[in-house]
Every structure is written in C-alpha cells, then in structure tokens.
C-alpha cells in the first residue's frame, strides 16, 4: 500500500516535471521563432499558459504537502500538541467542506465553458480548465483523509516527526 502510493507520487512528480519542461521548451521555441527566424508563432504562448495552469493545479493537488505551504505558524507552534491536533482537524474539515461545496457550481461553469475555444489552437476551454475540477476534488478528499488520520490513533506520528524540522530556538 505504502510503496504503491510512493510510486504513484513518483509518477505524479514525473508528469509535473514533464509539464514544466514543455512550458519551458515552448518559451524557447517562441523566442527562437521571433528573434532568429523572424516569424513569431502564436501557439507557443497558449501552450505555455496551458502548461502553467496544469502544472500549478496538478502539483498542488498531488505533490504539495501541508508543510510545503506558506503557513502563519507563529501562534500555533506555541500551543500544546493536543490543541494543535484538534485545530488541524478543524482546518482540514473546513477545507474539505468548502471545496466540496464549491465543486458542483465549478463543474457547471467549466461545462458551460465548452462553448469557448482558445484563440489559436482552438482547444475547448472546458478541457483546458478541467484540471481545476480535479484539483478541487483531490483537495477535498485529501483534507478528509487528513482529518481522519488526525482523529485516528496514529495521529502523533505527524506532529512528532515534524518537530525537528522546525527552527530550533
């Protein structure tokens, strides 16, 4: 179970790297075509923007952990561990609830965007934006799992493993 999750994360990381590399390459092609060939291409700009949006929401959904995020942790680190645990549960449940609530309208709006197409490549916007649906759903599910984990008996592991990573005073 653990190893298959690790493997899936590896695949997710490779895909993120690939998306990033394609974005980078499209930029280079754009510069080359404009300044060397003197024949600017329009599709590269679209490819970079699409890759950017996909890389950001893909990475945020699958690769970013709670500790990677920018958090205002000055107050919370002063609180005793049991209090931190229950506050973390509250945060996780609120995130899950908010994203789950927003999901149906998001789905509707993105389905509605099928009538719009990207100006150069003619790609349908509902496809381009579909990554956001995945992002919302994964965030909600991961937050629920986190809450479940924090409520379960194994919750200590996370807090005590985290301890040494904090700046020592």
């Amino acid at each position: 179970m653990i190893s298959s999750i690790t493997r899936l994360k590896d695949v997710a990381a490779w895909l993120a790297a690939l998306g990033f590399a394609v974005m980078f390459a499209a930029f280079i092609v754009q510069i080359f075509s404009r300044y060397v060939l003197n024949d600017p291409t329009a599709w590269t700009q679209e490819v970079t923007l699409i890759c950017y949006v996909w890389v950001v929401f893909w990475t945020s959904a699958f690769l970013l952990e709670e500790r990677d995020q920018i958090t205002f942790d000055m107050l919370i680190l002063a609180a005793p561990v049991p209090a931190r645990r229950w506050l973390a549960v509250i945060c996780a449940l609120l995130i899950a609830a908010a994203f789950a609530t927003a999901l149906p309208s998001t789905l509707d709006w993105i389905r509605f965007m099928r009538f719009e197409k990207s100006p150069v490549l003619g790609l349908r916007y509902d496809w381009l934006y579909s990554i956001f649906i995945l992002f919302c759903a994964v965030v909600a599910v991961r937050a629920l799992l986190r809450a479940k984990h924090l409520i379960s008996v194994k919750w200590q592991r996370e807090f005590y493993e985290q301890q040494p990573a904090e700046p020592a005073e």
């Binding site: 949006v53 509250i90 998001t106």
Partner: protein, 431 residues
C-alpha cells in the same frame, strides 16, 4: 463594507492564525463569503482560472525560480566566489563583504530572496564560520540581510507580483530597483565595516589583486547572465518573461554542458522542485485573485482612498505612514500575502495623491524585503537558522544593526524619489 465582508476578513485572519495554510484560508473564507451573499459559487473558479489565463507576466515566476535553482545546484556560486574575494576579500571582515558582493551579483540572476539565502548565502555563511573568526549567528545574519537585495536588483519575483496588482510596467519596475539595490549593498557593507572595526575583526586572506583579471575571466560565464537578462529587456529584444526563460536556458547550459555538474536525473529533480515552488506561490496568487475580487466588489480601496483624501494628508506623509504600517505588518506576515492582498488596497490612494506607482512599488518591495529579516516572523531568519543549524536567537541578536541600516536606506528611497526614478527615466519612463 458589509457584514459578510467583515466576516471574510475575520475568517481569513482567524483560519491563518489556527494554522491553516494562508492560500487555503483565502479560499475557504472567500467561498464562505460567496455563500453568505448568495452569490454564484462559480465565481470562485471563474476568478481564478480567467485571471490566470490573462496574466501572461506570471509565467516569468516559474522561470526565474528554475533559473535560480539551476544556478544554485550547478556550482555557479562557487565560481563567482574567487572573483568576489579578489574584489573585497582583503578588507577587515573581508568574507562578510564578499557575502554582500556575491549577493548583489546573484541578485542580478535570481529574483527570490529565499533562493539567494539558501544558495549563495548558505555557502558564504559556512565559509565565514569555517575560518573561526565569525560566529554562526553573525555569519547567518549577514547572509539573511544580504539576501534581501535579491528581489530589489532585477530580476525580481515580488516586483512581477506588484506589476500584476498595480498594472505597472515590469520593465520600469526592474530598472527602478537597480540603484536602491546597490544602495542597500553599500549600506550593509558600511555596517559591516563599522562592526569589523568595533570588534577588531582580523583581516581575511583575500585573493591578491593581481589575480583579479584571472578570477574575472573564470567568473565571466555566470557574470554574463545579468547582462543577457537586462540587455535583453532594455535593448527591447525580449519581454521580461522571455528574458526569464533565456536566463533559465543559459543557467541550464552552464550547469549541464559547460560545468557538467548536473546529471539528467538531477535536472528532472530541478524541474519537480521548481514546479512545487511555483505552485506554492501560484496558490497564494489564486487565493488573492478571489479575495481581491471580493475586496473590489466591496469597494474597499475606494473607501480607503476617500477616507485618506478627506484627511488632507500630504503624499509624503502618506508614504511614510504606509511604510510604517507595512514594516509593522512585515514582522507578522508573509511577503507574498502582503504584496497580493494588502498592497492593492493602497493603489487608488497613490493615484489620487499623485504618488508615482513605480516609486511606490520599489519602496514597498524594499520594505517587504526588510520584513523578511524582522523578528519574530522573518522567513530569511528561519531559512538561515535551519540551514546553519544555529539558534534563531543568536541570529536575531546580530541582525538588528543590519535592519537599522537598511531602514536608513529605505528612508532615503522614500524621501528622494529620484533614487528609484532616475534610471527608469533615462530609459523613457514618463513618471
């Protein structure tokens, strides 16, 4: 301002305070607001996605991150070191001066203070400690303070974000940062010279001046990068975003081909790391897109402008007060959040009072960067403490002198707008 808006603010601050990541605190409180107002929840996705697709300038952020990562991993900093040592290594407290100079040069390649601290800052701090002449606290404080120059001298990720929220030209903002960045460097070196004399630091063994041409030659490939970047932008050849990708390509070529210091596997890891760092910033931007939509709907910036206009404040007094406010908030808040959420509140007032937006932008970014080294919440202090395994308290004791001298530099930039605006005007800025 309506009650639901006050609830959004309370929700945002409350959730951040109990440890929810700031980006998610923005998402959750914004969704709460839309629910309260019985507004269409689709606005959430719409504001985020449509703004992302429209903000081409944001694409420079991942590329600047990639370039900095490649520079740090590719051994570029080591090669710059001899050059800096030949330049200022012979003085009293030589390595501390080398640290500042190396950061100034690195600032011309990287747009992120944290990347500079983790790269060239860590390297120099370790060298300083190894000589046995500098305490780890002092070495870390120098590295943290010098890293604040990174986003002032172009390229600069914070200035790209400011350009996004204020609708100002990235090119002129970048130019506006050059002299202030050098001013900060001079200020820090003056403080180091003063400390070195007072504590009677011995002279470090520098690299002989006769070696300077040779050291310069060796450092030339990385030194060319700022030239390519700025030459590209101001020669009119490339947009800042294109210049960012050229910089990343150049860094990749240096590391992978010239120095052969990166394997394919490591390059893949660089891309993954860059994707992660990009996403952390992008999620904050996404949160700010929704939150700022709500702030705009509630007409908050106009309220601020009307209120300040009614108080008959002079532009200079306004600038000073805003700077004091940001310094205070900088002790508590993260730089990106302040730039994306708080700065837009004051843009209409600046326009009404006739304050130049390039001047305001550079000054505010300098201010926010100083916030990165002000305790208790100073990200650069945390980074150096973690990297150098040095207690935060030891760094904080040493950093006060540097904070004080940087504040003097900031005051000069506020009182004399020409420090910021002179260079952009030479390139046709009509402000």
């Amino acid at each position: 301002m309506t009650l639901p808006f006050i609830l959004v603010l309370a929700g945002f601050f409350g959730l951040s305070a109990i440890g929810m990541p700031i980006a998610y605190a923005m998402f959750v409180s914004s969704i709460g607001y839309l629910l309260f107002m019985h507004a269409d929840l689709a606005l959430f996705a719409e504001q985020i996605l449509n703004n992302f697709i429209d903000s081409f300038v944001l694409l420079s952020v991942p590329l600047f991150i990639l370039a900095a990562n490649l520079m740090n991993a590719g051994g570029v900093s080591e090669r710059l070191l001899r050059f800096c040592q030949a330049l200022v290594g012979r003085f009293r407290g030589g390595l501390a001066h080398v640290n500042v100079i190396a950061n100034i040069i690195f600032a011309g390649m990287s747009g992120s203070a944290i990347a500079d601290a983790a790269g060239v800052g860590k390297l120099l701090a370790e060298m300083m400690v190894k000589t046995g002449r500098y305490s780890p606290g002092f070495a870390s404080a120098v590295s943290a303070s010098a890293a604040t120059i990174g986003p002032i001298i172009p390229p600069s990720i914070p200035m790209v974000l400011y350009a996004l929220v204020s609708d100002t030209s990235v090119g002129y903002l970048f130019l506006g940062g050059v002299i202030p960045g050098l001013l900060m460097g001079v200020a820090l070196m003056a403080a180091i010279a003063w400390i070195a004399r007072r504590r009677d630091f011995p002279r470090d063994e520098g690299v002989a001046l006769a070696q300077l041409p040779r050291a310069t030659l060796q450092a030339l490939p990385p030194l060319m990068l700022p030239v390519i970047l700025l030459g590209g932008i101001y020669g009119g050849a490339a947009t800042p975003t294109e210049a960012a990708s050229l910089a990343a390509l150049y860094a990749l070529a240096l590391a992978a081909l010239l120095y052969r210091s990166l394997s394919f596997r490591e390059i893949v890891r660089m891309f993954v790391d860059s994707a992660r760092a990009t996403s952390v910033v992008a999620l904050l931007i996404a949160g700010a897109f929704v939150l700022n939509y709500i702030v705009a709907t509630e007409r908050v910036p106009e309220l601020v402008a009307t209120w300040l206009d009614g108080s008959q404040m002079s532009p200079m007094l306004f600038l000073l007060l805003v700077n004091l406010l940001f310094l205070a908030l900088g002790c508590l808040f993260d730089a990106t959040t302040m730039l994306l959420v708080l700065v837009p509140l004051f843009i209409p007032t600046c326009r009404a009072l006739g304050i130049d937006l390039v001047h305001f932008g550079v000054v505010i970014v300098v201010n926010i960067m100083i916030g990165l080294i002000t305790p208790p919440y100073g990200v650069l202090l945390f980074v150096m403490s973690g990297l150098m395994k040095t207690p935060l308290g030891a760094i904080i004791r040493e950093v006060w002198t540097f904070i004080a001298i940087l504040l003097v530099a900031l005051l000069i930039m506020i009182l004399v707008p020409e420090t910021v605006l002179w260079l952009p005007r030479q390139f046709g800025y009509e402000g």
